[in-house]
């Protein structure tokens, strides 16, 4: 039993060491990655990063939100949910290189039989007071499309599967948008789209053309941060405090020994 508890402590120490290493890492060079399931006929998936189960049972049309990962190259592998992991056996595998301070969208796109990764770098900045938007064409059988104002100009022209456009910066406000064929035929209306200031959006067209739909994600919202952490202690531990304790202890010792001496001489 004692042996067990000792080794338990050892394990705990090891874990906390590892944890502190990971934590130290977090303050170094991290990148952000989010995974998007955009393969219409694929089942829910498990995603392994460097052999570790990182995302579980991600269904179609779902994203992971940004995950913090160390900068560098990572082995990203996708399995049908619940499949036992075996290196290189996934339906999809890629060595993904990510840079510190950057953010990425990794979409699993196309039909299952020809499933593929579509990777794009996401913007983590926007001009103050402006909105930013881009579109991704992830509908495997849909033709090239434009996205623009109903009855007006196109914001994005000729987006083809599989691709993610550059960002366009626009004034914040409400827009009657639509996805349309280059000849003007409407594919999907997006009326009353509200684009907020200081916000970066990604809008992905997914599913097959006969049931085309849209996934909208926020890539970034701007807010200020200070240069330094707060100073959150008004008190100052007294340097002389230990001195007083020392004196107190000494007095106590004298008093106690006095008792002993008195005892002896009685």
């Amino acid at each position: 039993m004692k042996k067990l508890s000792v080794s338990l402590v050892a394990v705990l120490v090891l874990f906390s060491l590892l944890a502190s290493l990971v934590m130290a890492d977090e303050h170094g060079d991290m990148a952000k990655v989010r995974v998007l399931h955009a393969s219409p006929d694929a089942p829910a998936v498990d995603v392994y990063v460097n052999g570790d189960l990182t995302l579980e049972e991600v269904p179609f049309k779902t994203d992971s939100g940004y995950l913090e990962v160390p900068a560098g190259t990572h082995d990203v592998e996708v399995f049908a949910a619940g499949t036992e992991y075996a290196a290189g056996e996934g339906v999809l595998q890629a060595d993904l290189e990510v840079e510190a301070g950057k953010a990425y969208t990794v979409a699993a796109a196309n039909l299952l039989e020809s499933i593929e990764f579509v990777v794009a770098e996401d913007s983590m900045e926007v001009t103050e007071g402006q909105a930013k938007i881009r579109v991704g064409h992830l509908s495997p059988d849909a033709p090239a499309v434009d996205v623009g104002i109903i009855g007006g100009d196109a914001l994005f022209s000729g987006a083809e599967f599989p691709s993610i456009t550059d960002y366009a910066e626009v004034d914040p406000g409400t827009y009657d948008l639509e996805i349309r064929l280059p000849d003007g035929t409407q594919v999907l209306p997006l009326e009353g789209t509200e684009l907020a200031a200081d916000t970066v959006y990604s809008v992905f067209a997914v599913n097959t053309v006969d049931s085309l739909e849209v996934i909208a994600l926020v890539d970034y919202e701007a807010a200020a941060s200070p240069d330094e952490m707060p100073t959150t202690g008004l008190g100052t531990p007294e340097q002389s405090q230990s001195m007083w304790l020392l004196i107190g202890g000494a007095l106590f010792l004298v008093a106690a020994s006095g008792l002993v001496w008195r005892k002896r001489f009685q």
Partner: protein, 233 residues
């Protein structure tokens, strides 16, 4: 018998005095640094954040109820507008597990670029130029660990456990956050941009001072940082 007892007491008193002395020599009684010496935890994030399944299930259920209603099942609402997730300007914060209840003031930065904090030990401050609680991103609320009289509002922050609830109120709304990570970070290693930075889901960050006191800098060497994620209603 009585004598013997007294003798024992004397010995005990002597021993106590010696221990007391030794203890004092070894470590000054700075309770903040003692309390924050061994803190820290991180709950592994849930594997997948899936915002849609619930709606998906509801949609599926709806489809079952009305099989002939919408054969093409196009999205009714504009999915871009569903991203709208407003936060609140916090007025009060409470943490039931450590019996904390405090008012929250709104402050920005000091002249030297630090996150500003209240001038008293009772109030908390929200970094108002940053993210609002409930908005995507990390909303930061700071408070003092001690003041001139002793323990201050965030004295017991080190006592928090994973899963503890933090309730923030303001703008007639009440938001609940669940603690998932605590770390005590040396001031020079603190990644300020990350602590105050963007996150795909709403987070609340609490900060107070920890570690040993640095008399040269006039502040403690570390910051205790607690991360909590929004509990969806």
């Amino acid at each position: 018998m009585g004598l013997c007892g007294e003798n024992d007491f004397n010995k005990f008193a002597l021993l106590l005095a010696v221990v007391f002395l030794a203890g004092c020599n070894a470590a000054p009684q700075d309770e903040v640094s003692i309390r924050s010496a061994e803190v820290g935890f991180a709950v592994k994030a849930e594997p997948a954040r899936s915002e849609q399944p619930k709606e998906l299930e509801q949609a599926k259920a709806a489809e079952k109820e009305k099989p002939a209603a919408k054969p093409k099942s196009k999205q009714a609402a504009n999915p871009i507008n569903e991203l709208n997730q407003p936060g609140i300007a916090p007025e009060t914060l409470s943490i039931p597990s450590i019996g904390l209840e405090a008012d929250v003031t709104h402050l920005g930065v000091t002249d030297s670029g630090e996150m500003a904090v209240p001038d008293n030990g009772e109030e908390l401050s929200w970094f108002s130029p940053g993210y609002q609680p409930g908005q995507r991103g990390r909303a930061v609320i700071a408070g003092h660990v001690d003041d001139l009289d002793g323990p201050a509002v965030f004295w017991d922050l080190t006592e928090l456990k994973p899963g503890d609830e933090i309730v923030v109120s303001g703008d007639d709304r009440e938001l609940r956050f669940k603690v998932h990570t605590m770390e005590s970070v040396p001031l020079d290693l603190a990644d300020v941009d990350s602590v105050f930075g963007y996150h795909s889901s709403p987070e609340l960050v609490l900060i107070t001072c920890s570690g040993t006191y640095d008399y040269d800098r006039g502040t403690r060497e570390e910051r205790l940082i607690v991360y909590a994620s929004l509990v969806k209603e």
